[in-house]
Amino acid sequence: MTVTTVLPEAGRKGSVLPEAGKNSIRLPGGSFAAYVARARSQGALVVQPRMGFCDPAQMRRGLLATRGAGPTVAGTITLDSYTRVGDYASAGQALNRGVPLNGYPLINHGPAVTRRLLAGLRDSGFPVQIRHGSADPHDIVGSLIDAGLDATEGGPVSYCLPYSRLPLRDAVRCWARSCELFAGAGGTGAQPHMESFGGCMLGQLCPPSLLIAITVLEAMFFRQHGLRSVSLSFAQQTHPDQDAEALRALRILAAELLAGLDWHVVVYTYMGVYPASREGALRLLGDSAALAVRGGAERLIVKTPAEAFRIPAIEENVESLQYAAAAATAAAAAGPAPPPADTGVLAEARALIGATLELSPDVGTALLAAFRRGYLDVPYCLHPDNAGAARSRIDASGRLAWAAAGAMPIAPPPGGPGRHRFTSFELLAALSHVRNSYDAGHRPGPIGALPAAGPGGLPTYTDGDDG
């Protein structure tokens, strides 16, 4: 693949800029935050893919297709893994040699190419978010500002502990200056919007209370460093009632702790090992849309059936966006679901946030101290700055539960302090729990492939950062 500088132009043959649907939302400037706020006022769920392509022309085609996928969609430019780790030399080498990257190399292409890619495309009816996965996003934030964009995501914890080797202390420092740089762009009339990825830690098997605590704390960190528009994330887990309970808890805590901010909630379709059957994959996607509606979320990041096997094609993304939007409409039409039972998610999340904030008036310092003491402890996270004493499991009801809580200020699991240790088989079973239950009775493989094995081992997934 070579990088072409010929971008499809709106209105030209073969690349007609789709008209957004008749109910589409049109606002000046393509503001991400304003778009989501307007959708909320109309009771519509914003659906968004996790698309990222190396070639600007293909990236533009992907955004054009996304824009045409429905009346309430947001576009995504996901960056490649080299850019995530700041290895621009390797990204550049790959570009020169025509080796395809797994996302858009924002820094190597530079703001001029990105502006051309977005010309006539990102506007009042179509906002675009940059997704990256970087523990030090300063260059990325600078480049997206220069490209005229106003939305990105991540966080000092959520893009450090799961994905990076950077010490947490350095990630907190890097994110503080990146947030301040981004907030400074607000002076130019843009409304910088930062999403916390904290509700998606490790993609799966993290009990909801900790996800809620981390995303709320990251949003408070963003506020402290000057941002005024944020979103809080939550990834669909193993049980619809527990997920609905979690979204309710998240909204209660956000309302209490983020007063004065523009905020909304984004749900992620299941990020763990994805069903291998087309039927199972679509049903899981539909359930995530129903969850978003039930939990009052404003935005949904979708997955595609192909994602269990490879990076999805543009058309597959469009299909997922349309499927999710239809499922959300159906869920809304079906009327309100019964409120979820309170199994203690809110109380746990509140305790985790409270114990953290007590450690320092500075949110970054409080986060560092909380992880050092194990008050926050992400199960199965390999980063050296994570205490590593917590373990989770899937209980008999299918809900995520703590097998060991370490030093976190939450009740130890019944049956005594957890000495539970998965075997590889048990871990694989837990990781595959959702896949197996959604695949039951269906033939695997939208493309006829089998789940991954070998040292890459287990069925793969693309996480929110895309990689």
């Binding site: 893994s81 080299y82 995530r84 780790v85 290895d87 390797s90 790959a94 080796v99 395809p100 990257l101 797994n102 996965g133 799961p162 994905y163 990076s164 080797r165 490790l202 993609g203 799966q204 096997f309 490879r310 990076i311 199965y380 996270c381 390999l382 980063h383 998965f422 075997t423 590889s424 871990l427 694989l428 990781l431 492939a449 089998l450 991954a452 094995a453 070998g454 040292p455 890459g456 081992g457 287990l458 793969t460 997934y461 996480d463 950062d465 990689g467």
Partner: protein, 170 residues
């Protein structure tokens, strides 16, 4: 297709005979340096592999996500007789893996270190066989693409974990 791939690829070592066990005391637990490649942030594969390799009889040093080449080489140099297992799923394995193993093989003491890579190695499923050949030529002893079943990998590792005497070439 899958069987053919595993059959042909699995061992580079089928041509060369079983991998040598390396300078290690009989009876001691053989070590694995478990890593990913520098651009790959995924860790569930590493957590799973650690458990699997421990159950197979290895002592595992799990280096975690986004392992820089120098870190992997350094950890291998510190553990004579260890096996290098790279697990990667972000689609950059063909590129990053080839670069990393070339770097490993430039160290005289690591020239014969058993080394294996597996996972989701490319961003699409194309040119799998030629890309695997590239990884073998670059210095891996075996390559397990995502379509390969798990048991041959476990067998391969189990064979390496046996007491050295059983493996030393006559």
């Amino acid at each position: 297709m899958t069987a053919a791939l595993t059959g042909t690829v699995l061992p580079a070592s089928t041509a060369a005979g079983p991998p040598a066990a390396g300078p290690q005391d009989a009876g001691s637990t053989r070590q694995v340096v478990l890593a990913s490649v520098s651009s790959d942030a995924h860790t569930w594969n590493l957590i799973f592999m650690q458990l699997l390799l421990e159950e197979t009889g290895y002592q595992v040093t799990n280096l975690g996500a986004c392992t820089p080449d120098d870190l992997v080489v350094g950890e291998c140099l510190r553990r004579p007789g260890a096996v290098l297992v790279l697990s990667t799923v972000n689609g950059h394995g063909y590129t990053d893996g080839a670069r990393l193993i070339a770097r490993v093989r430039r160290e005289p003491s690591l020239r014969d270190m058993p080394a294996v890579i597996g996972g989701k190695l490319g961003i699409d499923g194309t040119a799998v066989e030629s890309r695997i050949r590239t990884l073998i030529d670059a210095g891996f002893d075996a390559v397990f693409p995502e379509t390969a079943p798990l048991p041959p990998f476990v067998d391969w590792m189990r064979a390496l974990a046996r007491p050295p005497a059983a493996l030393v070439a006559p």
